[in-house]
């Protein structure tokens, strides 16, 4: 039992999740399983974003550019050169990582910070999207269809028959992503990232090469994001510049970590647990509204409207995210039960 205590709780949680979530396909129907898939999908992306956005303080408003690079790389390699999407995934990650390093270097080298950094990533991502609509070899704005394969194929990462396989892939991806996040945060990289976020000048005075670590942070974040893009291509079977490079993707990616808790290990997962079912719920309410609301039935836009309103409410009432709110409640609970309170902070 002592050995178990030495392994940090976060890793244990990952193991527990593997067991719990691994059994879901056995008793969830297709609808709920695909919901679970979506939750894990966005949680994974949220983690990827969090590495640069939450931990290093580099708020990216253009993560779609990395996502799209992953999607297009694996798809073009598959459609034009019959290369397995697994290899394509890797290639996409490398490409995105390099591009991310470039973007990170570009913006950091010239001291772009805060608001300007966010706007910069937004602008670069939009440029990438617009450029993608120009390029012939990726079929411009028409998009690319991933050829359908009969039955299941692990080599081609397509499962027409067994949906659960998609789920397992995403589950493993998510857990690996979670492990990567935990490992980074607990070690030198994570500490340096956070130092840069808290106070870059102080970090430099402690020997931290801010430029190098910012670039590393963006590169890692980008590579991880691209992998999810490749997965999406194989799941949705159609990509075009708007779907994979669009602003809405960037927004979706950053929503969950922020709502869940920026710069926390489990924030993106918790955020996805809340937001993804919420989005689904609002969508289903619009599809089949309760009788007193039947004027909204089938109306386009009501679901996003609701979602926007809920987003505002969540952010207003939980400014440090769900995890932060949870911590606050836990602290208040502890204080009430702690009768031998010690004086704070005297020296």
């Amino acid at each position: 039992m002592n050995r178990l205590r030495q392994i940090p709780g976060d890793y244990l949680a990952v193991a527990a999740l593997l067991v719990v979530l691994g059994t879901l396909p056995f008793f969830l129907d297709r609808f709920y399983l695909s919901l679970a898939l979506l939750i894990l999908f966005w949680a994974y992306l949220g983690n990827a974003w969090n590495i640069m956005g939450g931990y290093t303080g580099l708020f990216s408003f253009g993560h779609a550019m990395f996502y799209g690079i992953g999607a297009y790389t694996s798809t073009v390699l598959l459609v034009d050169y019959a290369i397995s999407p697994w290899v394509g995934m890797l290639a996409g990650a490398i490409l995105a990582g390099l591009f991310g390093a470039f973007v990170g270097f570009l913006l950091s080298r010239f001291g772009v910070r805060g608001h300007f950094f966010a706007l910069g990533t937004f602008a670069i991502a939009e440029m990438v999207r617009l450029l993608a609509t120009e390029f012939e070899f990726i079929n411009t704005s028409i998009g690319i269809h991933i050829p359908l394969v009969r039955g299941d194929s692990w080599i081609r990462l397509q499962f027409e028959e067994t949906f659960a396989n998609y789920y397992y892939v995403i589950l493993i991806l998510f857990l690996i992503g979670q492990i990567i996040t935990i490992t980074i945060v607990r070690n030198k990289l994570g500490y340096y990232f956070q130092a840069i976020r808290e106070n870059e000048e102080a970090a430099a005075s402690l020997g931290v090469n801010a430029l190098r670590y910012k670039v590393i942070s963006v590169a890692i974040s980008a590579a991880l994001t691209a992998i999810a893009g490749s997965f999406f291509a194989q799941y949705f079977l159609f990509i075009d510049p708007t779907i994979v490079f669009g602003v809405s993707v960037s927004v979706q990616i950053l929503l969950r970590p922020i709502v869940g808790g920026v710069g926390t290990i489990w924030g993106p997962f918790v955020g996805a647990l809340l937001l993804t079912p919420l989005a689904e719920f609002t969508r289903s309410v619009v599809r089949k509204p309760p009788s007193f609301l039947d004027f909204i039935e089938g109306r386009a836009g009501v679901d996003v409207m609701l979602f926007g309103a809920i987003l505002i409410i969540v952010v207003l009432f939980m400014p440090d995210g769900l995890i932060g709110a949870g911590k606050r409640i836990w602290r208040r609970f502890k204080k009430q039960n702690d009768t031998t309170a010690q004086p704070q902070g005297t020296d």
């Binding site: 607990r186 070690n187 030198k188 500490y191 340096y192 956070q194 130092a195 808290e198 106070n199 000048e201 102080a202 970090a203 430099a204 005075s205 402690l206 020997g207 931290v208 090469n209 801010a210 710069g263 704070q344 902070g345 005297t346 020296d347």
Partner: protein, 244 residues
């Protein structure tokens, strides 16, 4: 014997304003050199040039005979010169130990070593009680000690202290003085900017006086306090030198 730190003709100009003018200074091993001067004399600017935050307009900085004039702050820190800031810059959301770990990671291998070393440093500066509390919970005195701890975590050869006693009570200042002495015992050379005259006179082996960016005196504390030019520079400011 080559000095540990050698400033040659160091000058810093900001547009038309000359903040530091042709300063020549040497620092010997395990020496404590006090740097005093009226506000705006250029003391922090001098520090900023040594630590790499500012690029000197002209002049040279030699550390162990190596030219470090053009190096960026993180490089200089890794070479063995660390500093504290006048306005402390704690990593607010991280704990005290985590704060210091940012420093110890430079010289250790891996998480565990960095953490152990950090705890030692935290103990050395007397912040053991607050080791696992977030930095923003600390009082002013605590924050100053944290600033010190972080700088020490780099295992520096030279430590630059920028008004580390500002905002502290006389009792707290005395404690810091003892700490600084202990740091010198550990073999670290120290360059101190301070306004608390009693402290700096008792601590320093030598005292350098900066006025309008120029070095107007550098000598033993007793000599400096009776130097006419120094007294003139401080005219208009209240300052008392406690006799011994």
């Amino acid at each position: 014997m080559t000095p540990l730190l050698n400033l040659k003709g160091l000058t810093k100009r900001f547009g038309g304003l000359v903040a530091v003018n042709d300063v020549n200074l040497t620092l010997g091993k395990e020496e404590i050199l006090g740097l005093i001067g009226p506000n705006g004399a250029g003391k922090t600017t001098l520090f900023n040039m040594i630590s790499g935050t500012y690029l000197p307009t002209s002049g040279q900085i030699l550390f162990e005979d190596k030219d470090i004039t053009d190096l960026p702050p993180h490089k200089i820190a890794s070479l063995g010169i660390s500093r504290t800031f006048q306005l402390v810059k704690p990593f607010a959301k991280l704990t005290v130990v985590d704060n210091v770990m940012i420093g110890t990671f430079l010289r250790t291998r891996g998480n565990k070593q960095a953490r152990e070393k950090a705890r030692e440093v935290v103990k050395f500066v007397g912040l053991e009680q607050y080791a696992d509390r977030p930095a923003h919970n600390l009082t002013t005195s605590g924050r100053k000690r944290l600033e010190l701890a972080r700088a020490l975590a780099l295992e520096p050869k030279i430590l630059l202290l920028d008004e580390v006693m500002a905002g502290l009570t006389p009792t707290e200042s005395l404690a810091i003085v003892e700490l600084i002495r202990a740091i010198r015992e550990a073999g670290i050379t120290i360059l101190v900017i301070e306004h608390v005259m009693k402290a700096i006179m008792s601590l320093s082996d030598r005292v350098a006086v900066l006025h309008h960016g120029e070095l107007i005196a550098i000598d033993l504390p007793a000599e400096v306090t009776s130097d006419e030019r120094v007294i003139e520079a401080y005219l208009g400011e209240e300052f008392e030198i406690a006799a011994n």
